[in-house]
């Protein structure tokens, strides 16, 4: 088991830039995918509602 100070953790012996940007990329990809899907679902639901000319809006 190893213990890091915050500074050491950020630097990771000089490899920090690579490691943290890889992590940031993955986080950004997941955020984009989930938010994009949420938006696509909202758009698709609105279309369903429009097609069937519903007088009331329902939430899913």
């Amino acid at each position: 088991m190893s213990a890091y100070s915050l500074q050491e953790l950020l630097a990771l012996n000089g490899h920090g830039v690579y490691v943290w940007s890889a992590l940031a990329l993955c986080a950004a990809a997941i955020a984009l995918e989930t938010l994009g899907l949420r938006q696509a679902r909202r758009r698709a639901l609105q279309r369903v509602l429009r097609l069937h000319r519903s007088p009331q809006r329902s939430k899913s």
Binding site: L12, Y18, R41, A44, S54
Partner: protein, 259 residues
């Protein structure tokens, strides 16, 4: 959250081939799977970035492996799943199978992209270069193009039945690339290292590294399943928009009276 109660009369697993029944199942699974993925990722990151020691040769840059390896595994297996559902579609003509293949593709493409990007961020400090035209890297790039081609084909062609058929054939033909990626490090003398986890040579890493890797892989899996199910539900909404069951489910009680 609303979902239709699935009829208890039909016990056959075939009932899940119906978009309506499957939508109800997916609706119940997505959220718990997302939470599970988050917990697994949190544990995996704690193990991988805090508990696991630095690598004797690669130093700390090897920690990228905890992102790179799960992304690569998911990228390859998602493609095989896509090819499998495409084959099912071609044989049984069940439209949900084609939708499943189309729901898998964007997540597979994203994972492939992450695999390539995290790999090149690892390559810079370790190999001294972001990219080489090595067999493993090149076949992985081809996988990305296969995914993008599949997405462009299935989104760009209408009617959807033609798109489903053409996409399924592309997915099946492209599946030949997956074993090439996997065995590329064995078949060719590549710069990319061999597997650290294999059936023949077992595990060649510290146990905390293995724990982290397995946790991160599980997280990537569960995330991929959750997000694919969510996308399948969107596809169902898009493609079944005209159906009565969707109208009843989301349109409110007055729908039936519309002429």
């Amino acid at each position: 959250m609303k979902y239709q109660q699935v009829g208890s009369g039909n016990k056959s697993w075939l009932r899940w081939a119906s978009p309506r029944n499957f939508d109800a199942l997916a609706a119940r699974l997505t959220r718990p799977l997302m939470y599970m993925a988050a917990v697994l990722a949190a544990l995996g990151l704690y193990w991988g970035f805090y508990l696991a020691p630095a690598d004797a040769v690669q130093g700390d840059s090897y920690r990228i492996m905890f992102l790179h390896v799960p992304a690569s595994w998911v990228a390859m297996i998602v493609y095989l799943a896509m090819a499998f559902w495409s084959a099912v579609y071609l044989v049984f003509r069940t439209r949900l199978s084609a939708m499943m293949a189309q729901a898998l593709a964007p997540t597979g493409a994203l994972m492939t992209m992450l695999s390539l990007l995290t790999g090149s961020l690892w390559g810079k400090p370790t190999w001294g270069t972001y990219w080489v035209w090595d067999a493993r890297l090149t076949s992985m790039l081809l996988l990305l193009f296969l995914y993008l081609g599949f997405i462009a084909l299935t989104r760009g062609v209408s009617p959807s039945s033609r798109a489903d058929g053409a996409g399924s054939i592309l997915a099946l033909v492209g599946a030949a690339n997956v074993p090439i990626i996997y065995f590329s490090v064995v078949w060719w003398n590549t710069l990319h290292q061999g597997a650290s986890l294999s059936f023949e040579s077992g595990v060649s890493m510290h146990s905390s590294m293995l724990t982290a890797l397995l946790l991160m892989s599980a997280a990537a899996w569960v995330y991929a399943i959750a997000v694919v199910l969510a996308r399948l539900r969107v596809l169902i909404l898009e493609r079944e928009a005209h159906t009565d069951w969707l109208a009843r489910q989301y349109g409110g009680p007055t729908i039936g009276s519309i002429t």
